[in-house]
Symmetry: C2
Subunit: 644 residues, 2 copies
């Protein structure tokens, strides 16, 4: 065995002498972009050996100079002795968000606990869909010589009260030898359905009833988050997130759909989300926890309708063409092995039902975990991910719509934007000297700005007088942080590259600000139009829940100040984190929650904004900071007057 | 295109210039033994080019002399012009029975019609398990924008009265584009289950309700027979049979089971029966009929319990070890794609339920098609395939047992034995001059002897005085057809090789006769023991049905004369052909028959002969021609006395 040290990650692993370096990197759970999957042709896995030597093949991707400095293609190397490896930012794709993040922040734990309690408060039982039972079968003899499967069924009938026991061929194939190796004492993993019916999805030797695990995955257009759950006690064992590898095929759902219609596009997108995103996250969690993939027997996932289609490898072009018809909203029965997902191959894949072409299972899951379906208060639920979806209602009714906000909240279409992961500037304040104070996720080098950071930045720029109310950067201010290009496009530099030895400055431009303003206007006008449809206004909102990938550090006050959220009492507004992932977790843990979820999806009423003439008017008025009609934002008006 | 002519088969096909000759042979539906699957390493596909030229690679399997004569390895040849090909007996494995036979004989049609009428007589409906329905869906619009799958389900609910509609991922993936290409007019293939439930297994454009096909396959240890059925009208479209390619791993079930426990043995046996036997038969029938495999949506198969296990790739070693426990008797739900069977991949594979370790689904199917479950008469059903199984009973009760008869009835363990296919001697008469008169299946060159031929032969030898009542060949008879080896083992030559330009004489030896006597004794003693268990005797038998691979030309009288069947009125004894295949056909065509089948399997009582002390006594007494106690065969006694 030899040691491989990852200096930039503070990690070290032992591998067999002769191991391929790319394999070693993958085993260490360090993300590295490998579009060619290790064939040596793409050159993306370029790394630097800073100590020790490797046996490596020459490559056209490595210049003579780089070779001298120790650069190699990881996929073309054999590790022969202890080495240290430095993985450059370009290989690990930090900017593209493909670095896998651990579960860490206290805030995330709080959000998780709150969602969990929400369900208990609603009187739902934590009883999982998948069960384990330990059985001690009678031993066969000449007088009791029924078949192994019949013997198993007889025992289940007598002890678990199930008359109809099903299993698939791979399980049947395990039975004869396993029963005898286990002296006919086995644990079955099964899924009871209806009265007296169950399907066996695994069989193991001895009593393993306390080893039962599930996985919840939120598939966002930009980010994918997963958690590994102990189904025996509901505990969160591991969590991991990364960018969605589909991002290389387009930042938003429309671009992805268009790519999916070309050549092998659909297969490539399906491969990107499953093989390049979900499976690496799963393997990371298995490595962290020591749990084997065969032990994972429940899988719940949610995504917007396009993500749901691409996850299943379904043709999705009709989603973007009037009359916007999804292929499905509720998924049929699917086994993990059909999608090559790295859990127990017999695991049922539960994809949370969608509502319509632009309101997906992530929203259904979010509504579940928010608890809004169980209150008398009027709740406004806003998911700020790529695009933005809104739900308004309570236990009596649920109305929903989608706003075409684009990917700006997760850093998309913003020149230095990135998703809310390590290295993202998540908070910004600008003083009267135009100098910023920033806060970076993970206390790492600032690499870009995430959604919450952009809100802070635009808000601060507005109050510092750096931008006007149209979002344009003001000329002739006394600071070296502002510059204009030959076309007069302004740019405000948040971080100079020299300060942190970066490849480029971290900045925001007039174009970025305009993109972001359009995104926030889409949300605001969506809310207005939806309430208007119900004959209601902002005064009737009892609470606002903000969910989604915009980041844990969302400053609600600032979001109101830029006119993204209505100017109501800010105590009524809460950030509830990744509510889709929480909904998946609850669905994993509670059969009651699963039923509730299906009810929610069935009962949500979808409003198509694109055909509502009011929406466009509202949108145009909202493309201003905070709004063309400042009277709609009395608090902000006062503050602006004060700051003058 | 160029022409390839198969002189020995009177066949001709057109192929593309440059086609591989082995591929051409396979396309023509000519069986050729290719253990190495065309890699050129085994040398088994040696053929002779008798006209035209090919481009061929040299091979160590072809001598210089052979090369000059035109011999090549088919797998190493490219066809460049019109050629004629002669396939030698060794390559086409006629002796091993791997030649695919067509559906031809009038007798087989009669048997088929009788089985079919049997069912109608019992008041069962010819209504298939799999259905097709043509649907004209409402077109989607902005006001009716439910998903494609929901639209399909809504239509089915309204028009077919099914509230629960299921489908698997591959079908869901077809839906969006197909619906639009078909202008929302489609035919679904589906399987209704229970009340208001159905599973869609295919969806096609337009109205294809009259194009629905199924396949029935009888998997024998020695022979496999299949038929392609038009499910719309019940017509038999094609039939094909061949040897079971597993034969290379052993002639009987015990040898196969033992092979299956070694290394990859189980996978090889599974591959042999599916890839090397069933799929070639299916492709042959598709070629003959012009039906595409995607159109075949129902598949019913039966085999003895070992064949059933190996068909599913199930560990079967416990079948042969006390207390003889099968892994299953009733199969769970299996899709064709799971077993790589070349029908529509979503087709459900229905394997007819077995009864016990040595009474399989072939017997359940046989009992169904015999109609014995519906009569008041006491019926004795005997399946003479490899081994021999017996069922006795009527509508009130069904008792069954297995006799370890071995493969002799299908030509196994007989030096010139072969299965009842083209080239097999099926009838024999011997005159007082010791000269035989033979009849060969298909009027081909005699290559070997099948079961019915061996019965005739032994019977004739006994009455001609060539063998004594122990089955030993008598010395010093005046004929050149008898010879003895250095150990005194006698041999009777039925066909001299010179007469038909064969590789060797077709003959029978003392050892062969002894093997066959043991086989017939196993059947006779099985019948005696089973009846004895019920406190009954031969006088209570109202009818005997003989089924199985012994051959259509079975001479019932001769079978009685050698003591295989009890000496009762021969009008009561009927040969009913391949009752297992007939049972599979009926199960394909009638849901009622399928239910009846499950009832039969559940209600049959299995008697384990190996633990019955009477059986061994009976067996020893029956190892004689016709029996040690000649009084049990009064008719034969009279005939023997007359012939002296």
């Amino acid at each position: 065995m030899v040691k491989v040290k990852f200096t930039s990650y503070n990690k070290e692993i032992d591998v067999l002498e002769g191991e391929n370096l790319l394999e070693a990197i993958r085993k260490a759970g360090v993300f590295i972009d490998t579009p060619c999957n290790g064939s040596g042709s793409c050159g993306k896995c370029k790394v630097k050996i800073t100590a020790g030597n490797v046996i490596s093949e020459d490559s056209r991707h490595i210049t003579e100079k780089e070779k001298k400095e120790g650069y190699v293609l990881a996929c073309q190397c054999e590790v022969k002795e202890d080495i240290s490896v430095e993985i450059p930012g370009t290989a690990s794709s930090s900017m593209h968000g493909m670095k896998i993040e651990d579960f860490s922040s206290k805030r995330e734990y709080e959000i998780f606990e709150r969602a969990k309690n929400q369900i208990l408060k609603c009187g739902m039982e934590f009883k999982t869909y998948v069960r384990k039972d330990y059985l001690e079968l009678d031993l066969p003899n000449l007088n009791d010589n029924i078949s192994d499967f019949e013997r198993l069924k007889r025992h289940i009938k007598n002890h678990l009260n199930c008359n109809n026991v099903f299993c698939r061929l791979p399980i049947l194939r395990k039975i004869p030898q396993l029963l005898r190796e286990a002296d006919f004492k086995v644990t079955i993993t099964h899924i009871p359905r209806g009265v007296g019916k169950t399907t066996i999805i695994d069989i193991e030797k001895g009593d393993t009833t306390d080893k039962i695990y599930g996985v919840a995955v939120d598939i966002g257009t930009t980010s994918v988050a997963a958690c590994l759950v102990d189904l025996y006690n509901g505990e969160l064992i591991a969590k991991a997130s990364s960018g969605n590898a589909q991002i290389k095929y387009g930042a938003d759902v429309i671009n992805r759909i268009m790519y999916s219609t070309k050549g092998n596009g659909l297969q490539e997108l399906n491969h990107a989300v499953i093989q390049e995103t979900i499976n690496p996250l799963l393997n990371k969690m298995y490595m962290d926890s020591g749990i084997r993939k065969e032990q994972v027997v429940s899988f719940v996932t949610a995504g917007n309708t396009t993500m749901s289609h691409l996850f299943l490898g379904l043709y999705s072009n009709f989603l973007r063409m009037e009359p916007y018809i999804p292929a499905f909203v509720k998924t049929p029965f699917i086994k993990a092995s059909e999608l090559n997902i790295e859990v127990n191959p017999e695991t049922f894949i539960y994809l949370i039902p969608c509502v319509a072409s632009y309101v997906g299972g992530d929203i259904t899951a979010g509504v579940l975990s928010s608890g809004m379906w169980n209150t008398e208060d009027n709740i406004l639920f806003i998911d700020l991910g790529t695009n933005g979806e809104i739900v308004f209602g309570n236990k009596e009714y649920l109305m929903t719509c989608a706003c075409s906000a684009g990917p700006a909240f997760e850093g998309g279409e913003i020149s230095c934007g990135m998703r809310a992961s390590g290295g993202a500037i998540e908070k910004v304040k600008i003083g009267s000297d135009y100098e910023p104070i920033i806060s970076v996720i993970g206390n790492e080098k600032p690499l870009g700005i995430c959604g919450s950071g952009i809100i802070d930045l635009i808000c601060s720029m507005m109050f510092a007088g750096i931008i006007d109310r149209k979002g344009k950067i003001v000329k002739n201010l006394k600071t070296n942080r502002i510059r204009f290009d030959e076309n007069g496009i302004g740019e405000y530099i948040l971080v100079f590259k020299e300060q942190y030895d970066l490849d480029r400055d971290v900045s925001i431009t007039d174009v970025d600000i305009d993109n972001f303003i359009r995104a926030k206007a889409a949300i605001y006008s969506g809310i207005t139009t939806l309430l208007n449809n119900l004959g209601m206004d902002f005064t009737m909102i009892d609470k606002i829940y903000i969910a989604g990938g915009i980041g844990n550090s969302l400053n609600i006050g600032n979001a109101v100040k830029i006119g993204m959220l209505p100017d109501i009492d800010q105590d009524k507004i809460n950030y509830i984190g990744n509510s889709s992932l929480m909904g998946c977790y609850l669905t994993l843990m509670s059969e009651d929650a699963r039923h509730k979820l299906e009810e929610i999806a069935n009962h949500m009423t979808y409003v198509e904004l694109s055909v509502d003439p009011l929406y466009m008017d509202q949108f145009v008025s909202a493309c201003f900071l905070p709004h063309t009609d400042i009277e709609k934002f009395p608090t902000v008006k006062k503050l602006l007057e004060k700051s003058l």
